[in-house]
Amino acid sequence: MIDALAYVLVALAGVAVIWGLVTAAANKPPGKAQLLFAAGVEIVTVVQSIIAAVKLAAGFRPVELATTIGYLIGIVILIPIAWLWANVERNRFSGVVLAVAALGVLAMTLRLLVLWTPAV
């Protein structure tokens, strides 16, 4: 984990949450830019998990290793699954689905920041 990258991801995911809710409120399905933005959030998420995995491989040991690994893996599958689920039936709720996934990424990143404390 890199703190700055995590905060960037939190901000990006926050934008994706709001964007999804805005299009839902406007009764529109997510637009192309919105879907690309979600893909961008996913790329940053994957980069973050890879960096964390490299640090773990290099010997870093957080207090709750198993939980941390679970989060690092789980966090990267949210947006891809939501993306597929949102595109099967395209309407306002597609945006809500993307918002839910982005909120999950946001919450899990904040949790990872807390988990990323070296074991004594």
């Binding site: 198993a66 679970g70 309407n91 809500v96 839910v100």
Partner: protein, 143 residues
């Protein structure tokens, strides 16, 4: 929270996996993932610390998985299973939530339902209510 099935989604046939139901399934899916991950870690690495709490974590995970799949399928048979799962979920979050407040020593380690799901923004308490409301909302067409 999002995905509140408060308004009709149009004149199309309403299935549990359509319209607002897709958002509901997304929330259930996240909780299925979160609860499963949490229960797996707890059961595999520290089961002896709090067997009751961790078995309840596993039960919660199973309930969320069943609810996610049955709501996502949206068939007549899956609706019934969804109803059973969501009722167990509601009872579970109320009973475990209340016990964890009244009798905290029985739950030395947190579960997804502890203190009515406070660790998850109380979504675990709201979710089964939304789920039941959604099953009720879609009942006439599909059951």
């Amino acid at each position: 929270m999002t995905g509140v099935p408060t308004q009709p989604t149009g004149s199309t046939v309403r299935k549990t996996n359509s319209g607002a139901g897709r958002a509901l399934v997304a929330v259930y899916g996240i909780f299925a993932l979160a609860a499963t991950a949490r229960a797996s870690v707890q059961l595999l690495t520290k089961f002896e610390q709090a067997p009751l709490a961790y078995l309840l974590s596993a039960l919660a995970a199973l309930i969320y998985i069943v609810a996610t799949i049955t709501l996502a399928r949206g068939t007549r048979a899956s609706r019934r299973l969804a109803l059973v799962a969501i009722i167990i979920e509601l009872v579970g979050v109320i009973v475990v939530g209340t016990l964890s407040v009244v009798e905290p020593q029985a739950f030395p380690r947190a579960t997804v339902w502890s203190v009515y799901g406070i660790g998850y923004g109380f979504v675990p308490l709201v979710l089964p209510i939304l789920g039941l409301a959604w099953l009720w909302h879609t009942r006439s067409v599909n059951s």
